[in-house]
């Protein structure tokens, strides 16, 4: 069985960026605050374009904002 997991540092980066609010980030990237909340909590995987926009908003690379982990579990292990 395989599981894909997308983690992110948005919350941490927001606080490092002058304690940017979720609404401010949402306004910059052109989505709703609910979407930022869902992404932060890992409940929604953003499109590639939105992921790049979020990274751009922090002046960071996409891999600094999002981390992808691919876990391959073998049967019986």
């Amino acid at each position: 069985m395989e599981t894909n997991n997308l983690k992110n540092n948005i919350r941490k980066l927001r606080f490092e960026k002058n304690e940017m609010t979720q609404q401010q980030l949402a306004d910059i990237v052109g989505v709703t605050r609910q979407t930022i909340i869902a992404i932060e909590q890992g409940k929604y995987a953003p499109s590639l374009l939105l992921a790049f926009q979020i990274a751009h908003a922090f002046g960071a690379g996409i891999e600094q904002v999002f981390q992808f982990t691919h876990i391959a579990e073998q049967k019986g292990s």
Binding site: A26, G30, T32, T35, I37, K43
Partner: protein, 145 residues
């Protein structure tokens, strides 16, 4: 709570009210006034209340200064629509086929059955769209599960 959630809640409340009033009136007619099921079915006239759902675009207007609909909203909208129409299609086919099996190919059904199939289909689509939309956003006001 965003516009889609408000619309879904509004539709759900209107549909529930219409269904509740219809069933209550039907039961009162059938069990209290002891009229025939055909006459008691007049209570289902309350289903017309569902027409109020058409008011939702007027009641919940777009705020031009804010982002109202983004890629996540679009994904939820697509999911709710495809699930609702999927369920509708299964029920519609069942409603068309079941009488065939019960009364046979040469049997007859009342003409009332056809508009009720269409109306029932619309009812199922709106109900399922609302439920799936609210479930996807989360039932809480902030829109998170």
């Amino acid at each position: 709570m965003n516009r889609q959630q408000k619309t879904a809640w509004f539709n759900l409340v209107v549909i529930s009210t219409a269904l509740g009033l219809s069933l209550i009136t039907f039961c009162i007619g059938l069990f209290i006034f002891d009229v025939s099921a055909n006459k008691a079915a007049a209570g289902f006239g309350f289903m017309g209340i569902i027409g109020i759902c058409g008011m939702s675009p007027v009641l919940f207007r777009k705020d031009k200064n804010k982002v109202q609909f983004d890629e996540r909203d679009a994904a939820i909208f697509r999911k709710a629509n495809s699930a609702a129409y999927g369920i509708f299609w299964v029920l519609f086919v069942a409603a068309a086929m079941i009488p065939w099996f019960i009364i046979g190919p040469n049997g007859t059904i009342t003409i009332n059955y056809l508009p009720w199939m269409v109306f029932g289909g619309m009812f199922v689509v709106m109900l399922m769209q609302s439920i799936i939309t609210l479930n996807e956003y989360g039932w809480r006001a902030d829109g998170n599960k």
